[in-house]
Amino acid sequence: MAIPLTGQIINLCASLLLLIAFAMLSQRRILSLINLFALQGLVLSVSTAVVAYSSHQHHLYFSAALTLVLKVIVLPAILHRLIRRLNVRWDVETMFNIPTTMLIGIALVVFAFNLAAPISQMAGTITKSTLGIALACVLLSFLMMITRSKAVPQVVGFLSMENGLFFAATSATYGMPMVVELGIALDVLIGMFILGIFFFQIRAAFDSLDLRHMEKLKED
């Protein structure tokens, strides 16, 4: 059973997304994290464009362009400016060490695939086997949010979770309605601005962006 070339390219993009999600898990430097996030956005827009080409759903071209502008250019630019002004470039500490985090990541991938297997059998799109990968990307981003102790990697984890959800949408149902998509994009952009403001406040209060300091806020 030979999958057509477009299907193979989409599979390849899916595995690249998974690879990038793992690479983000194992990264120590915040700068490389942001670059990986931009790369993830690029792969995502390429994959959306290919899906648009093969399934003749032209509104997906618009989605791909929106992803490209927002996630490859605008958001990484905002993040770069943020970290330059906050003067954070390193994130040395994680909750578990990196091989353990990756082992948990592999277990999550297996779990996500087993979960997605019956659903992808019902979907009628060309990309049904990639639903598992999308779910795995979401779970891995969540894991990244949990295991980091500084604020900026957590935000990057949140953003890549949104990437994973977008990929899941394109692979299962050929994209979301345009209204929903524009709404989400706007939400994410506004969220970024607000989080940026919060980071300055946290820094002013604790003199560091280590989120474990926030434990001092609880009432004793």
Binding site: A2, L12, S15, S26, N97, P99, F113
Partner: protein, 315 residues
């Protein structure tokens, strides 16, 4: 076993023996160009080997027979490994005796012997090198095995010839699991051949030595054999990478006329690979020694992920 098969095998044996130092020379030359130096020329390794063979061997008082035999064992193992990987032709009788698992086993055998020989003299450097080498090896060997397993499950065989035939002659299919496997393979190649970022091949500082520490006590013809074996190991790894990930152009069984083209293509691929390796080395810095297990662990887990992806996506 036809005459042509025996001919191909002998031809490959001689070719890899002669080409291995050339590959090392080419990589060193590329590094020199990238670092804006003139370099010593691609034939420098041959001159080094010739010089070493002429010298008197100096051995420590306490060196045992194991120490004396190890360079020969190492050389024979690496020669066999380099001669096995089908890269110019797929008609090679030795491959039916040694499959991918046995190939990894041969590398392990060589690694164990060189580690034991390093511990033989009883200096601090020897045991340090042996310990670090086994540390790198204990994660690199399973990673390599998993990469080869990914290729084996795609081609439903562990015989190197069948793997290359399936990957080269099937219609062009993009295998995502091989994407993971290729990243893991490059990391293993860097680690096992003692290149930056895992080990610096030209260092003599105790803090940074892994491979150099093990061969510190060898001299003259023994050192020449060890260096040649190292070059053969690099050639074996590069040809493995070529055979697994870019196998097109290989001569099929019985087609003599395809042989010159296959040899030319192999040299071209090796040249590109060597230049890529030099670029990778120039762009990275050497890791601290206790980051190496993390690096290798990442390679191992990526390789496992590649195998998993095959089971999940392509089966």
């Amino acid at each position: 076993m036809t005459v042509s098969a025996v001919f191909y095998q002998l031809f490959q044996n001689v070719l890899v023996l002669l080409a291995a130092p050339l590959l090392m020379g080419w990589i060193a030359q590329c590094r020199a160009w990238l670092q804006n130096r003139r370099g010593a020329g691609v034939l420098q390794p041959y001159r080094n080997l010739l010089k070493l063979f002429h010298k008197d061997a100096v051995l420590a008082h306490d060196a045992s027979q194991l120490f004396l035999f190890t360079p020969y064992i190492l050389f024979a193992c690496m020669w066999l490994a380099a001669a096995l990987v089908p890269v110019i032709a797929t008609d090679m009788p030795l491959s039916s005796a040694v499959d991918v698992i046995a190939l990894v086993g041969i590398f392990a055998l060589a690694r164990v012997f060189i580690s034991l020989a390093a511990m033989d003299i009883g200096t601090a450097f020897g045991s340090l090198g042996a310990r670090r080498e086994m540390l790198v090896g204990f994660l690199a060997e399973p990673a390599l095995l998993m990469v080869l397993f990914t290729a084996s499950t795609i081609s439903q065989s562990t015989s190197l010839i069948t793997i290359v035939e399936v990957l080269a002659h099937k219609q062009f299919v993009l295998y995502p699991s091989l994407a993971f496997a290729s990243v893991a393979f490059v990391m293993v190649l860097l680690a096992e051949n003692a290149r930056i970022p895992v080990d610096n091949p030209s260092t003599h500082l105790e803090l940074t030595m892994i491979h150099e520490a093990m061969v510190l006590e060898y001299s003259a013809r023994h050192l020449a054999l060890v260096e040649w074996a190292g070059a053969l190991k690099m050639l074996a790894y590069m040809t493995m990478g070529i055979a697994l990930f870019v196998p097109w152009g290989i001569a099929a069984t019985g087609k003599w006329h395809a042989l010159p083209l296959a040899v030319a293509l192999m040299l071209l691929k090796l040249a590109v690979g060597g230049a890529g390796l030099a670029l990778l080395e120039t762009l990275s810095a050497k890791m601290r020694i206790f980051r190496v297990p993390e690096f290798m662990g990442t390679a191992f887990l990526l390789a496992v992920l590649g195998l998993l992806t095959h089971f999940l996506l392509e089966a």
